[in-house]
């Protein structure tokens, strides 16, 4: 009887098993990493219609975040400032700058500047800046060192597990309420735990805390 299959064929099942196994693990790993917000969303830094530099304003000039994001303590949205806020200064400073053309047009026509949204949560999540800022969570905890960014980019994944990490253990991210906007604040050791007790923080972990 002649040999139909050569001998190396005997190795095929083993090869398939190993290759399949590695492939399956690889695929899981691929999805795990590349489909997660940590890969897809972090680093998102679209070019804005007005080349506004947070580094200049918040970093070099040392403006407080709340000068522009004025309602962050009072409502769910941090609120991108109205054109009026820009014009407070820029009607005097660099009033002719070509970079500010859209801002001047917006002011003249009473039409919004079409900023591009960077930090986006799904529609079924109800996040409130008011709740977090008043609990002593610093801006930097979610938004990173905005004062060093010429173009703002997303630095945290904003995924649910990332939210829950902090809700389960808020201490590392809590600071005195009056210092929430201070970008380079370094807490003393044990300060977070003390503040969690002082502010009586009990971050919810149930679904309807955010999903409703």
């Amino acid at each position: 009887m002649s040999v139909i299959f050569p001998r190396w064929v005997n190795r095929l099942p083993l090869l398939f098993a190993t290759g399949g196994g590695i492939g399956a693990f690889g695929l899981i790993g691929f999805v795990w990493y590349f489909f997660s917000p940590a890969y897809t969303d972090v680093g998102y830094a679209p070019r804005q219609p007005v080349p506004y530099s947070h580094k200049t304003h918040a970093g070099n000039l040392g403006m407080d975040c709340r000068y522009c994001h004025s309602l962050v303590e009072e409502g769910p949205h941090a609120t991108v400032p109205p054109t009026q806020t820009c014009m407070n200064c820029h009607s005097h400073i660099l009033p002719e700058s070509p970079n500010l053309r859209l801002v001047r047009e917006s002011w003249a026509d009473d039409r919004p500047v079409p900023w591009i949204r960077i930090h986006k949560l799904p529609d079924y999540v109800h996040f409130s800046h008011e709740a977090h800022v008043n609990a002593g969570v610093g801006c930097v905890s979610c938004h990173g060192r905005v004062d060093q960014m010429v173009v703002v980019r997303q630095v945290e994944p904003l995924s649910m597990s990332w939210c829950l990490d902090c809700h389960r253990d808020p201490a590392p991210h809590v600071r005195p309420r009056e210092l929430v906007t201070q970008m380079d604040y370094v807490p003393e050791s044990g300060e977070g735990q003390a503040l969690v007790r002082q502010y009586r923080l009990n971050p919810p972990e149930n679904c309807s805390a955010c999903h409703f």
């Binding site: 897809t40 991108v80 054109t83 026509d109 919004p112 079409p114 591009i116 679904c207 999903h211």
Partner: protein, 1010 residues
């Protein structure tokens, strides 16, 4: 806990043991259930009706799959892996006090058919999304009925009138056409001092409009002004003016009245002022709050909410109510010496020569005399003026301070019926050549005998200003879009005279105008805006600076203080009463060949709200029919005439004939056919066109709300009706509990004994939470005060972005209302008593739904709520199957994504709009809890009592729903849950629901209890 899914076992346990034995009474929701027909059993045993999970038109399943395939492909191709770019559009100039994402509230008011309601509107970023009752307004007192709740939907109605029409063709641009038309109108008026020009408006309470009308008639003295309102109070005013000397409107002071007799008066349902009356009436149905329960007698032909609340109800055709009242008056005069021998002539003659239930009349008369000075008699608007006259005479003798009389809110009030008749006559005689219709729809709703549309066609020119392109708009030469009440400046006057300002919450979406503005364009050389007109009207001769503080105050508060009328002292003219009575003919009672047709004001009022999907879909409070109307008949009449449900019948009187399906309604008077008005609209929009049958062709000027001598013939066809009364049935379990006030006083704990045995071992399922920390949310619903008006249902729909699904889907049991109001009957099918029970998610601490969800999409929160997480739900529907209360709703289709941008504006941004394939249910208005919680935490304190109010609680005119923190010692809900009437549903199953009930109390006359 699998007890609930084991049907046989459960059935065996529940029916004989609990349903009958414990409460001793059998409660049923429909006649099918009472007779336990095979159809009903099948309906019951399926979670949803058969074929419910199949696609029916407008898509076939195949077409749907095609569409799905295409949309998936498109989604893949177009979106790819790129992150969609979203824009943030901040204000260029941010309005003062506006915090994006935080709702703002404004006080305003609206009116409906000559009755004003105060409203508190919630706006998000300039969009009104939710209307609530104004707490300080005398009519709403913080509550709002279902029509009021649903008004916001009409603001965003895509079928609204958006542009002017000339001869039925659209013309643009809006503002210029309005100006041009107004100029043309002014020119015609100037030509001959207004000769030949007539104006027709609805009954408007607005003092501003009244002054504009005065100015118009002063400027053009030969013009005329007429009013028309299909549901008017002509007979009330005619009756009171005949015996009291001037037109007055009676109002019952329920805080004083221990006994109320409603004669064909549905004051708790859709009658005038039901909102205020319900609040005041229901306050007297809680023994814990007031010493004594009031007692309600109702005499009526059709089953109404008032009849359902009544302690004693007599079925009587409306045509017989006057004779009944005369018999009662005769009994009072002869047996009890009312009027002390000075009884109006003619009253005594009737004594004992009547065909009514003598025992009932005798007992009622005795009870009235026993409550002299503490009782009130109410008469329905449809009853003749002579009965209103008699009732006024009786009330002056019997009711004393319990019935107060105030002038009509429109001082120049004339009878709407007479006014329209005079107008039509002038149109026919050629005295009116041009007609300006300011709102309303007389072509559709004018009495058939006047033939208004015929007269309209014969005149030279006709203008119509209206919110919708309705039958009248298309019949007129010119139509102009009107601004919605939520878009315009104006004012209203409530029944007690209180003036409320109306302020716009949004710019007119389509640039419409208002009647007051239009008149200004006609009479003023420089037309003024609604704002200027209103300010000028109230400023009068005052200086601007002195006026401004008052104006700001009125706008903020919404009402002008101390503008109410004082009740007037009245004196009866006995000769006038005698004259009114002698004129009364005693009509023969309806019979098999001469039926009596009753026109019911409906949940779409007189038809004007026909294009409002929320109102169309909310089940009628009594019949539980959504969408179409039906001819309601008693079971006995149906048997005698061989009718069954949904059978199309022909109702005819004279030459006129209408066809509509039959619905058998327990509690109807025999040989009476009742049908809701306002359906069968021909031109109103995509929602309301051809829904139901138009009854107006059978309605004549002399028979406003009932008509005798109607013939009925049975057709062969049947037309399906969307009735929800058997949906979500709970199979005889002891869900409603009731007792008489007397028994309750003897044994305050009798409600507790009605429940089954509560297992001592506790639940097998141990909840992982201890519920020890504040807040712990709970709700108590008082069945004693709830009238079943459905205001809560629409409030919930508005608050929670709940879609409508259409008639066909309702028939499939797919209605989406998170809160339903179950209506149970008890007693004989011919004349049952009714109990209603609002049924939201019960938020069981050991919720059966949570135990079967394979993906943990429904879980429990530490504050005791059963939470539903849409983004986790995969749509298995196991939870709905395992829910013993059947309160879970499934999105069988995508109901919202195809809505236009304008329609989407009505959605609250803080509530997720659910997509196809997910389950949803009552969330205790979690978005409100979340907001209240953040605000309280910011101040480092727990949420205080009153800060967290659910939408249903807020809308409830009866104050029957109370929500709050069970651990707050101050909370009302905690106190209510300690009342002895308190009970939870299915206690034997250890569900530990957070929503519990207070048993219903009745206060029957011991003399009439057999």
């Amino acid at each position: 806990m699998s007890l609930l899914s084991n049907h046989d076992h459960d059935h065996e346990m529940a029916v004989p043991a609990s349903g009958e034995a414990r409460t001793g009474r059998r409660y049923w929701r429909s006649l099918d259930e009472l007779s336990d027909t095979p159809q009903f059993r099948e309906f019951l045993e399926r979670e949803f009706p058969s074929h419910a999970s199949e696609m029916i038109s407008p898509f076939t399943r195949r077409a749907f799959l095609n569409l799905m395939g295409a949309s998936v492909a498109l989604a893949g191709a177009l979106t790819g892996c790129r992150r969609p770019e979203q824009r943030i559009l901040p204000y260029a100039r941010r309005p003062e006090d506006l915090v994006p994402g935080v709702p703002q509230r404004y006080a305003t008011s609206v009116e409906r058919g000559g009755n004003a309601i105060g409203i508190l509107a919630t706006c998000f970023e300039g969009r009104p999304v939710k209307l609530e009752g104004h707490p300080q307004h005398p009519v709403s007192q913080g509550a709002l009925d279902m029509i009021g709740q649903a008004l916001v939907l009409e603001l965003y109605d895509p079928d609204r009138s958006i542009r002017p029409l000339e001869k039925g063709l659209p013309v643009a641009p809006v503002a210029e056409v309005i100006k041009r038309q107004a100029a043309a109108l002014a020119a015609r008026l100037r030509a001959a001092d207004g000769e030949g020009v007539a104006f027709l408006s609805g009954l408007a309470t607005s003092p501003l409009l009244a002054s504009q009308r005065g100015r118009l008639l002063e400027r053009f003295p030969r013009a005329s002004w007429h009013v028309w309102e299909p549901l008017n109070e002509d007979h009330v005013y005619a009756g009171t003016s005949s015996v009291l000397g001037r037109p007055l409107r009676p109002a019952v002071d329920f805080s004083r009245a221990d006994l109320v007799l409603a004669l064909d008066a549905d004051f708790l349902g859709r009658g005038v002022g039901a909102l205020a009356d319900t609040r005041a009436f229901s306050a007297r149905r809680r023994t814990e709050d007031s010493q004594s329960l009031n007692r309600l007698y109702a005499v009526e032909g059709a089953m109404t909410l008032t009849g359902m609340m009544a302690d004693h109800r007599l079925r009587l055709a409306p045509s017989q109510v006057e004779a009944f009242t005369l018999a009662l008056a005769a009994e009072l005069a002869s047996e009890h010496g009312l009027w002390a021998g000075q009884a109006p002539a003619g009253v005594l003659a009737i004594h004992r020569a009547h065909r009514f239930d003598a025992r009932w009349i005798a007992a009622l008369a005795r009870d009235l005399m026993a409550h002299r000075g503490r009782c009130a008699i109410m008469v329905g608007q449809g009853q003749p003026a002579s009965l209103h006259a008699l009732a006024a005479a009786l009330n002056v003798e019997l009711a004393g301070p319990c019935v107060q009389y105030r002038p009509p809110v429109d001082a120049s009030h004339v009878g709407a019926g007479d006014s329209l008749a005079a107008l039509v006559e002038s149109m026919r005689a050629g005295r009116v050549r041009e007609l300006v219709i300011l709102g309303g729809n007389p072509v559709f709703d004018a009495p058939a005998d006047l033939d208004f549309s015929g007269a309209l066609a014969g005149i030279e020119a006709s203008f119509h200003l209206g919110l919708e392109v309705n039958e009248t708009a298309l019949a007129c030469d010119f139509h102009l879009p009107e601004a919605h009440p939520l878009e315009s400046w104006g004012d209203t006057r409530a029944a007690d005279g209180t003036i409320a300002l109306q302020q716009p919450l949004i710019e007119p979406l389509y640039g419409g105008t208002t009647a007051a503005e239009l008149i200004s364009m006609v009479i003023d050389d420089t037309p003024r805006s609604g704002y200027e007109l209103l300010r000028a009207h109230y400023r009068g001769a005052r200086e601007e600076a002195a006026f401004e503080p008052d104006w700001a105050e009125w706008l903020r508060e919404g009402i002008i203080p101390e503008s109410a009328f004082e009740p007037e002292a009245v004196q009866v003219d006995p000769a006038a009463v005698a004259a009114a009575i002698t004129g009364v003919s005693s009509p023969a009672p309806p019979s098999r060949t001469k039926l009596e047709l009753v026109f019911l004001p409906s949940k779409i009022h007189d038809g004007r709200h026909a294009n409002n999907g929320w109102l169309q879909e909310v089940p009628d409070p009594v019949t539980k029919l959504a969408w179409d109307n039906a001819a309601l008949v008693s079971p006995e009449t149906a048997r005698a005439l061989g009718l069954d449900n949904e059978r199309v019948v022909r109702l005819s009187a004279g030459e006129v004939m209408v066809e509509l399906p039959v619905w058998i309604q327990p509690g109807m008077a025999d040989w009476v056919v009742a049908a809701p008005l306002g359906y069968g609209r021909r031109e109103v929009g995509r929602i309301g066109n051809q829904v139901g049958t138009d009854l107006y062709p059978l309605r004549r000027s002399d028979t406003p709300l009932f008509r005798s001598g109607v013939a009925l013939s049975v057709g062969r066809d049947s037309r399906p009706l969307a009735c929800t009364q058997d949906h979500w049935s709970m199979e005889d379990r002891d869900l409603v509990r009731e007792a008489s006030a007397e028994d309750y006083q003897k044994d305050p704990h009798l409600f507790e004994h009605m429940g089954g045995h509560i297992p001592e071992h506790g639940p097998l399922w141990q909840p992982p939470l201890d519920y020890a920390e504040r807040p712990q949310w709970g709700m108590a619903i008082d069945l004693s005060t709830c009238t079943g008006c459905q205001a809560c249902v629409v409030a919930c729909q508005a608050e929670n972005n709940i879609p409508i699904v259409g008639s066909e889907q309702v028939r499939n049991g797919r209605e989406m209302h998170w809160l339903r109001v179950d209506r149970y009957y008890v007693g004989e099918p011919e004349s049952p008593q009714a109990v209603v029970q609002p049924m939201p998610c019960q938020h069981c601490e050991t919720a059966p739904c949570e135990q079967v969800c394979p993906v943990a999409a429904t879980t429990h929160s530490p504050d005791g709520m059963n939470e539903m997480t849409y983004n986790r739900c995969i749509g298995t529907r196991y939870c709905a199957n395992n829910c013993p209360f059947k309160v879970r709703r499934f999105n069988f289709f995508d109901y919202t994504s195809e809505a236009s941008d304008i329609e989407k504006m009505r959605h609250r941004p803080d509530v997720t709009v659910r997509m196809r394939g997910v389950m949803e249910k009552c969330s205790f208005c979690i978005q409100r809890i979340s907001r209240a919680g953040i605000a309280a935490r910011k101040q480092g304190r727990p949420i205080a009592e009153g800060e967290m109010v659910t939408a249903c609680q807020q809308g409830c005119p009866a104050d029957a729903i109370v929500f709050g923190d069970l651990l707050d010692p101050e909370s009302r809900v905690r106190q209510l849950k300690q009342w002895p009437r308190h009970y939870g549903l299915l206690a034997s199953r250890n569900l530990r629901p957070r929503v519990t009930y207070l048993g219903r109390l009745r206060n029957p006359n011991p003399e009439l209890v057999s």
